[in-house]
């Protein structure tokens, strides 16, 4: 047994950044390109040591624009690839997140959210990049975004992010925050047989018959990689199913952009994950995600102790938005409370899905997330 194991099965004490890095290695990621930024730097540091042990590539690029460009290149060359950053770097990456969406590149982008805007609060947590994860690059496209609430989930959801990226040929975003990234907790790394790994579909046709953007029934095209003899072209321009630019065709544009969005929306039921706690008989539901969901869980328990029927809907998937789970709880509760570490982002999606059920927003900005008491008070006001 050498240090060169990709999967460190067993019980560990890790921080979230390291757990994320180990999750990536566990799923077969063998390419990381990044640029130092607090609070995501430990992901890069850990992978600069671990990648070479496994024959993988670690490279520090000149900026975040280059980092994601290199990740897209590596993915097209056949490797599972990832980058990690925080708000300012996430902003720089938006250009090529659009390119990854347009060229249907499986890749994972980790954004460890800190306080913004601009340089903001580098060492403190935030949830201010949630809408950017959905709308950050220009044009219409779809991404998948996941929100971990614990160090264990930084490991688990990194694996999940790669699986979704590979299954749907889509850039997948792991939206952590400074606390889940820097907090140290117990992490159980499972055995290989317990980890589900999804790899991109490969073409079943010969090179002469291959169209790189001809979708299957699930709207996802099989993906050849560079050097496999398919000699295909990919471009950020509007392109037909052969990958050739068709910048003057409204028909091709409509078909392509619609498919890029629908390959996610039509598979929403398979993608979306939430955790439901004590919702069966709840009068008040808290909808929360990330580190805030941990405080929300304490608040819900406290409310139950005081006789208020409260429950928690924890969003594990942020995008596509868990429309149906939210609509379901809206039907059975009198009020919904949404605590977020921003000025109100996911709450608007909750309001839209909840229709007539009143939604109360609890904003928190600055050094720490909501206390359980703050959320509890809001539950009590709405009960």
């Amino acid at each position: 047994m050498t240090k060169k194991r990709a999967l460190l099965s067993g019980v560990h004490f890790m921080n979230g950044d390291i757990a994320c890095a180990e999750g990536a290695l566990a799923t077969g990621c063998r390419f990381f390109a990044g640029y130092p930024i607090t609070p995501a730097t430990e992901i890069a540091e850990h992978l600069s040591r671990r990648m070479p042990e496994l024959g993988g590539i670690y490279i520090q690029m000149e900026d975040e624009i280059a980092s994601i460009a290199a990740v897209i290149g590596a993915s097209y060359a056949g490797l599972k690839a990832m980058t990690a950053t925080s708000g300012p770097g996430f902003s720089l990456m938006q250009e090529n997140i659009g390119l990854a969406a347009m060229t249907e590149t499986p890749c994972v982008i980790v954004d460890i959210m800190r306080g913004g805007p601009s340089t903001g609060q580098p060492t403190l947590p935030g949830q201010q990049d949630v809408m950017q994860a959905k709308w950050g690059s220009h044009g219409d496209y779809a991404t998948i975004a996941l929100s971990p609430s614990s160090v264990q989930e930084m490991f688990n959801l990194t694996i999940e992010a790669f699986n979704l990226a590979e299954a749907y040929r889509v850039p997948t975003l792991l939206m952590g925050d400074e606390i889940v990234a820097h907090m140290w907790e117990k992490v159980v790394v499972p055995h290989a047989s317990e980890i589900k790994i999804v790899n991109r579909k490969k073409p079943s046709v010969s090179p002469g018959k291959y169209g790189p953007f001809v979708p299957d029934d699930d709207l996802v095209p099989p993906m050849a990689c560079f050097g496999e003899g398919y000699r295909f072209h990919a471009t950020g321009l509007t392109h037909d199913e052969m990958g050739y630019p068709r910048t003057q065709s409204s028909e091709v544009q409509a078909k392509l952009v619609k498919r890029l969005c629908e390959k996610i929306s039509r598979n929403e039921d398979k993608i979306v994950k939430v955790e439901e706690v004590m919702l069966e008989d709840a009068d008040v539901a808290v909808v929360a995600y990330g580190i805030v969901a941990r405080a929300a869980l304490s608040a819900v328990r406290k409310a139950r102790e005081t006789g208020i029927k409260a429950g928690l809907l924890r969003l594990i998937t942020l995008w596509p938005f868990p429309e149906k789970p939210v609509a379901k709880i809206a039907n059975q509760t009198k009020a919904i409370v949404v605590p977020e570490m921003n000025c109100g982002q996911i709450v608007r999606e909750v309001q839209r899905a909840a229709k007539t059920t009143p939604v109360s927003f609890l904003s928190k900005l600055g050094e720490e997330p909501h206390t359980p008491r703050e959320i509890f008070e809001s539950i009590r006001r709405n009960a």
């Binding site: 240090k3 000149e62 050097g227 990919a234």
Partner: protein
């Protein structure tokens, strides 16, 4: 009976992408021609070739080449190519793009890829302006030239691309004009056989957009400038390799041996694997 024969070089091009978008008198076709001639002379395996371009007129080259190809966002061809080369060092990765793409919006990527000595080969068609957007001033526009955004004459000093490449650490640096087709072809061949980061600047005519505002209305007039002014000064100091109306210094400026990033990386991997300890 007339028999239709395929062009001997059509196997290097994607017929589905033709006709190309370039104006008459443009030099991009010559750059592509020299490139495919070099591929042919080397009998390079097209299945192992990846052509990467950024945005701009010459950026369409990736799509025209019958190899794996990728047309990136503006300025990002080099970092994309870096990812490809490191992920699969067996691939020959060639970036063909323009002066604005590689040296304005992509300038930072160029100098760092050269510094790291990533084994990618970069060909820059330098036409002195942004052609595709209709002729604006760019990082290589000569002083006092007229463009759509320098109507009173350009007051920005242009980059000397071969000096920049040499100073950034490229292992092979050359400049030719589109008039030097044989030398350019040989230069591309030499570059494709080298290890590490290599760079060729091709001074290329843009009569429709740049030339017409600068008293060279046709491709022929621009080529006449190249013929009249070009001086071959092989291995001269690249910092003195000027481009003016009187003199265009061309030639090979750098040809050195230096271990590439990917080779260095794999040597390190071997060392790490030897030293692997118990976890």
């Amino acid at each position: 009976m007339v028999q239709e024969l395929p062009h001997p070089f059509s196997k290097y091009l994607r017929s589905a992408m033709m006709p190309h978008i370039w104006c008459s008198g443009c030099g991009n076709g010559i750059v592509l021609n020299c490139f495919v001639h070099a591929l042919d002379e080397l009998q390079l395996d097209l299945d192992k070739l990846v052509v990467v371009s950024g945005i701009g007129c010459i950026g369409r080259t990736a799509g025209y080449t019958n190899a794996d190809s990728f047309h990136t966002t503006h300025g990002r061809a080099i970092p994309f190519a870096t990812g490809v080369k490191l992920a699969n060092p067996e691939l020959e990765v060639v970036v063909i793009s323009g002066d604005g793409d590689l040296f304005a919006i992509g300038g930072n990527h160029f100098i760092h890829a050269a510094r790291r000595n990533i084994g990618i080969k970069v060909i820059c068609a330098n036409n002195f302006n942004y052609g595709m957007t209709g002729g604006q001033q760019g990082p290589t526009t000569p002083l006092e030239s007229i463009t759509n955004t320098t109507p009173y004459g350009n007051i920005e000093h242009p980059f000397n691309l071969v000096h920049l490449a040499a100073a950034s650490g490229a292992t092979y640096v050359a400049r030719w004009t589109t008039l030097h087709v044989r030398r350019l072809t040989q230069s591309i061949k030499r570059m494709l056989q080298k290890e590490g980061f290599c760079f060729i600047e091709v001074v290329s005519p843009c009569p429709e957009i740049f030339g017409r505002q600068n008293k060279m209305r046709t491709g022929l007039e621009m080529m006449e400038w190249f013929r009249r002014s070009s001086v071959v000064e092989n291995f001269s100091d690249p910092s003195k390799a000027e481009i003016t109306s009187e003199k265009i210094v061309v030639g090979e400026f750098v040809n050195v041996t230096k271990v590439s990033y990917e080779k260095f990386f794999h040597e390190k991997l071997a060392q790490i694997n030897e030293k692997a300890v118990e976890w």
